[in-house]
């Protein structure tokens, strides 16, 4: 955290009246932590194919994030590059060929699944990237979503069997690091995730859900970030970078109170809706997003029970 400001790797906290500069690229810590974890696991001989897939996906996405943080990638190049992060999963062949949905329906799609893996990684990485709207929102929601996927895997294991210890190896690689990152990124942020962090977190969720066959619970648990990305893209008419917005969706008063920008040029985002609902402090908006994500994470776990627990 001391190195980044000295090298001018800082971001402006735009939702504070005094616009403080905060160290950026906190995601580097997540990448370094996962590298150390996998190195230790490799030395003790407990690296599984699943763990390696998740690790490499995070590393590739994190590398794309580092490039984006330093050189600012083109708005179309970044999502395309994020698809590359799905390649380790395909190369190691650690993906299922069936997509299970609730009420005993599953789709046997071996060829289509190969195409869906890079798309799924691009969706999760960019959804978390676009959900980095306020202090702690992206890191907190990622932590909640991944924790719910661990519970969903427990549900799956208890009904259809599976190696829980293998999954815990993958989960322990990122969950504690996510918790630490959230601790420093929560309101008021001491460090920003940067694209390095948001892309790595999104990749971790995407890879985890694919490798352990938890796609449907992941879609449900990720509903809030996905909805936010969906509306931002629709209202802006396509992909965009925050820097090219003519008008920001949020206005900040001198006392730090936030309000929705009524201009038709401001994109429609979930944050704007939250402000229209009466939230006017960054801390409260962040907490509101956490509650919404928590509710969707719970729905994701319930969907896991409907997929593997209930027989129809």
């Amino acid at each position: 955290m001391r190195i980044f400001p000295s090298r001018r790797i800082v971001g402006t906290d735009v939702h504070k009246p005094d616009k403080p500069e905060i160290p950026e690229m906190g995601g580097v810590g997540l990448l370094a932590g996962t590298c150390v974890y996998v190195a230790v696991a490799a030395l003790t001989g407990v690296v599984s194919g699943e763990m390696l897939s998740i690790f490499l996906t995070i590393v590739v996405a994190g590398a794309i994030g580092i490039i984006d943080d330093i050189f600012k990638l083109n708005k179309r190049v970044k999502p395309a590059l994020c698809m590359l992060a799905g390649l380790p999963i395909l190369l190691i062949r650690s993906y299922p060929i069936e997509l299970a949905v609730p009420f005993s329906v599953s789709f046997h799609i071996p060829i289509l699944y190969v195409l869906l893996v890079p798309i799924a990684i691009a969706v999760t990485t960019n959804a978390i990237n676009m959900f980095d709207v306020m202090n702690g929102v992206a890191s907190g929601s990622s932590l909640i979503v991944l924790s719910s996927l661990v519970v969903a895997w427990l549900v799956k294991c208890s009904f259809v069997g599976g190696d829980f210890t293998t999954m815990m190896g993958g989960a322990l690689m990122v969950l504690p690091l996510m918790a630490v990152l959230f601790w420093y990124n929560r309101y008021p942020s001491k460090i920003f995730l940067g694209d390095t962090g948001t892309l790595s977190l999104g990749a971790a969720i995407g890879a985890f859900s694919i490798v352990y066959g938890l796609e449907f619970p992941a879609i449900i648990a990720m509903m809030v970030p996905i909805t936010n990305a969906f509306f931002s893209l629709f209202s802006h008419g396509g992909l965009f970078e925050r820097s090219e917005l003519k008008e920001r969706p949020i206005l900040i008063a001198a006392d730090g109170r936030l309000s929705s920008n009524p201009s038709p040029n401001a994109p429609l985002t979930l944050t704007k809706i939250m402000l229209l609902l009466g939230y006017d402090r960054e801390k409260d908006v962040s907490a509101g997003f956490m509650y919404l994500t928590l509710a969707m994470a719970l729905a994701g776990v319930l969907s896991a029970i409907l997929i593997w627990g209930a027989r129809f």
């Binding site: 949905v101 609730p102 009420f103 005993s104 329906v105 879609i219 449900i220 509903m223 809030v224 909805t227 969906f230 509306f231 629709f234 929705s260 009524p262 429609l268 979930l270 704007k272 809706i273 939250m274 229209l276 609902l277 009466g278 939230y279 801390k283 409260d284 907490a287 509101g288 509650y291 919404l292 509710a295 969707m296 729905a299 969907s303 409907l306 129809f312």
Partner: protein, 92 residues
């Protein structure tokens, strides 16, 4: 954190989740009926195309309804804010 104000957003999200949970099963039943009815009339290939096309149309319609739900919520809340907290009744 005070009162949880995002109940309307939560309701829209729950509606979307319910749709995603129920729709695949219901749509599967519709595809089975389509298969049973159409195969003797138009053959297996055209039935498959019809099933794929109707699934695609259904997906696009779902995206439209999803977007409209949130857009209307946003527009309604914007109008309420423009009128002010004390205003009530018709603006005409």
């Amino acid at each position: 954190m005070g009162e949880f104000r995002a109940k309307s957003v939560l309701l829209l999200l729950i509606a979307n989740v319910l749709f995603l949970t129920l729709a695949p099963r219901l749509w599967f039943e519709v595809l089975v009926v389509m298969h049973r009815v159409l195969v003797p009339i138009v053959g297996r290939d055209i039935t498959s195309y019809a099933q794929a096309l109707s699934t695609l149309v259904g997906g696009v319609m779902w995206l439209y309804v999803w977007r409209e739900g949130f857009r209307r919520l946003h527009d309604g809340l914007s109008k309420r804010q423009t009128r002010g907290p004390g205003a009530s009744g018709s603006s005409r």
